[in-house]
Symmetry: C2
Subunit: 536 residues, 2 copies
């Protein structure tokens, strides 16, 4: 190692992350994620386990071209009682043509005795033979010591013997895995301290799971004790409680602990983007409270905090939000005071005199709406429209008279087929002109959206580029079940890199969707500087 300060990051999103409950990557997903990891500056991208499932086979048959990241394939040490040369698993790995292969093997005597039911010496031989074989054939070998910490607590000599066998057989990295995720930071620190007496830290890695909520701390503790490789996943994906979250670990390593990684300071500013792209691909709402990258990570609510932040951000911010690509936000809420509201105006680009009497009227209006269940958290476009309508004029681009949705489902006689129809009629005014049209869709909201566009696009061609990128439905008082208040949030984009979010609320999901759709259309027209059409 030429630089003792350099920590290597090994991403297992595509392998261990694929074990997450509810996650099911396609080969195309895997390629896209691998390219993002490469672009971020991650050192190793574990692509999957060739031979374990068709998706991973597809992925390794057409692996992505990576600029700087090394692609690795994951597999097991050879089976008991046969040579490495003759092991179909190992030859399958080597045949992928990948230059780095990571092999998992046992290092807990209990697992060797109970799960494998083989001699302990055979387990050690399996490790040594397999590592030597893949190093010879592929170029770089890595050993994931499964259950290392539980194994070390039970029988330190045997756990170390397994790791040393891999190291002596030529493994570039020996990775200590806390497979069951139950080890606490002080235990990690003590055990890693012992291991570094036998294997240099520059050849040691750490692989943690979050079963006690300590995966990040455990990874950092190991690095402090000399370990120089961290295995983890984006957003902490992984089975059970997830793997160590590389997105949380990276900024602490680089901004606070003074380590270097393959990620540059500039690259670190893509962290929020990388985290959100993964959630988008999984169609998950990003965790608002995620360390560093969450939408709330630099959000300020209490009035006192907000006034202090205005004086000096370091009063209430541990790092500069921009260093990880995040931004400071001021939360609107019924705890919000005048200082929050004025700061929020500034955020959305509204230049208002805080002493303007209209500000008080708007504050009351927001409190009233929020107490009825509205939430402008995260729906900045609807907030901005509400504010602009009160503080200045927003053109009346159109005025709805009515809509009617008919949704029908009929089973044919043999129950083998269902005929389904969704149709919406919309009547609205543009200026003085009354226009009506009807459209079909594959659901009621889709048909409503289609009918609105049919009428509006000929008059306002700017709406042609508008498309909806996300549609979220949240039931507010779930105990009212199907009679509950529904909040619909719509995220829209215009193909020019702008996205905005609008909100609608009603006990009727179609009404709520209409409100959010309407705000999205108006926001686009307003921001494009379009004038209201007279309708003639």
């Amino acid at each position: 190692m030429t630089n003792d300060n350099r920590v290597y990051l090994y991403d297992s999103t595509l392998r261990d992350g694929a074990q997450t409950q509810g996650v099911d990557f396609s080969a195309a997903d895997k390629v896209a994620i691998a390219i993002e990891l490469d672009r971020l500056g991650i050192d190793y991208v574990e692509g999957g386990w060739p031979g374990a499932n068709p998706t991973d086979d597809d992925f390794f048959a057409n692996p992505p071209k990576l600029e700087t990241a090394v692609l690795s394939a994951f597999g097991m040490t050879r089976r008991p009682g046969r040579s490495a040369d003759n092991d179909p698993g190992l030859s399958g790995l080597v045949n992928t043509g990948v230059k780095t292969i990571t092999l998992v093997g046992k290092s807990w005597d209990f697992q060797v005795d109970v799960a494998l039911e083989i001699e302990r010496s055979e387990n050690v031989a399996m490790i040594a033979d397999s590592i030597a074989y893949v190093k010879d054939k592929a170029g770089e070998a890595m050993f994931d010591a499964e259950h290392f910490f539980d194994g070390y607590k039970a029988n330190p000599e045997f756990a170390l013997e397994c790791c040393k066998a891999a190291y002596e057989a030529g493994a570039r990295w020996i990775v200590m895995c806390d497979t069951n995720g139950g080890t606490l930071p002080d235990e990690i620190e003590a055990i890693v301290g012992e291991v570094t007496k036998h294997i240099p830290g520059s050849h040691l890695g750490i692989h943690c799971h979050d079963d006690t909520g300590n995966a990040v701390a455990n990874s950092l503790a190991a690095v402090r004790m000399g370990v120089r490789q961290i295995q983890g996943t984006l957003n902490g994906l992984g089975e059970r409680c997830g793997n160590a979250n590389l997105i949380s670990i990276l900024p602490s390593l680089m901004l606070k602990m003074g380590f270097e990684t393959g990620v540059s300071k500039e690259g670190l500013k893509r962290l929020v983007t990388v985290s959100r792209l993964l959630d988008e691909r999984l169609n998950r709402a990003p965790a608002r409270n995620a360390a560093y990258v969450g939408e709330s990570a630099f959000a300020h609510k209490g009035g006192l905090h907000v006034s202090a932040i205005e004086k000096d951000p370091s009063c209430y911010e541990h790092v500069n939000p921009e260093s990880v690509g995040n931004k400071r936000t001021i939360i609107m809420s019924n705890q919000a005071g005048r200082s929050n509201l004025v700061a929020k105006f500034r955020e959305v680009g509204l230049d208002v005199d805080p002493k303007d009497a209209k500000v008080n009227v708007l504050l009351d209006k927001i409190k009233e709406l929020e107490s009825s269940g509205y939430s402008y958290d995260g729906a900045d476009a609807s907030f901005e429209l509400l504010a602009r309508r009160h503080l200045e004029a927003v053109p009346e681009y159109f005025r709805l008279e009515s809509f009617r949705v008919i949704d029908e489902r009929v089973w044919d006689k043999r129950h083998a087929h269902v005929n389904q129809m969704s149709e919406t009629t919309v009547k609205l005014f543009i200026g003085d002109k009354r226009i009506m049209d009807v459209a079909e869709g594959n659901g009621p909201v889709n048909a409503l959206d289609a009918a609105l566009r049919k009428i509006l696009i000929p008059v306002y061609p700017d709406l042609e580029s508008l498309h909806l990128v996300d549609f979220k439905v949240r039931i507010l008082d779930g105990d009212q079940a199907t009679g509950a208040i529904t909040r619909v949030m719509i995220e829209s984009a215009d193909g020019q890199g702008n996205t905005w979010t609008t909100v609608g609320m009603s006990s009727n999901i179609i009404d709520a969707s209409y409100e959010a759709l309407r705000d999205s259309l108006i926001y686009k027209l307003y921001k494009s500087g379009v004038k209201a059409h007279g309708g003639n």
Copy 2:
């Protein structure tokens, strides 16, 4: 302190937790949560900040009766330049009649200079005077040293001086707050180690935020260094990235580190319940991957893991799930093998011969459904119905012929009022008898639900007690926006302590809701042992 092993837990869910983005407790919510905390065995329940907002005033005007927990009120040290006797904030706190008062004050020189703009000696006097005053009037005083760790790093003498002033003035606890949440575990350890040379650990508390993902580790590190009080919140509520999560901390303290708390071993088994009750009150989906209490925390997906778990659970579980009231689950997924499926059957109470050829057919069917976007993760009732339909007969309680939903919204001339109507017609067969009926609702799904009940309850009175407790809508391919596939999950209850979850999926939200409603109705009838009605 009589027992050096005893750690005190101080819950701030009702005060710091109320700062969470999107959270807005009513006074009734606060009372219910306080009672749950008391029942769990939490030592201190911080009820709020009297005088800060109407909700907190309501709460302290009618505080809940707690069995063992101590209710505390939060406030600030006196204002600069006046006596504690004359401070309206302090007298407001004392007037609540609460016996324990927690006062926050500055301990970072920078904040005293920049935010307060007062002499440092006056800051120290404010702390000492205020603590002495509330201790005298209320009985127990606590000092929250705001920004303590940032303050200690900048000026250790001053930070310590502030804490010592509180201690010497009679504060029972001096709580070191990592207000901005940026401190790492090794820094906590080093600084707390220094502080314990001046103030005994038995009088020290720790208050962490999760901005680096280390709030749990930081809290545990402080305890290892001698601190004996932890402040945190349920499920890690709190502004930005949240406070230290007491739900994650408790089991590690008790099951792994050998500490005692006010929570008994039996009480710890209510942890999952307490965590979920809070989410229910907030109408949030519980975090599946939460340490110890998440639905996925003991979920096993990989086929290899599942066979090992069947041999010996400690192979892949760091604690017994029952010790925290959780349970082992086997995940159905397209990575699922035969062993997962058979284990899942056992979980839902289906006794099947694994060699039965029907098991293979069902496995194929599940893979097919899941690849089309279905998910039985969390929808055990729909899974069970699917399995039972394949493996044995489920009675045909009813057969839908058609439904038609009409949803209309008309603005009156002056736009001041909207007329809204949702109406659903349902036609179905019960045995050979064709029955139709129509119902209105406040939305399309509500009207559909009402029409189904209107027809079914007279025939199947067991359905009278069925009510829907949660209704969740998830858009699967958000990039298709309003044309996206919608997954509806419905949680139902029967008032006898049984709850079950069903799933429906379609590009049409009404269709998807129908499927989930239908499964819920059938599941209830099937589990109640009701026979299909001939329709005569």
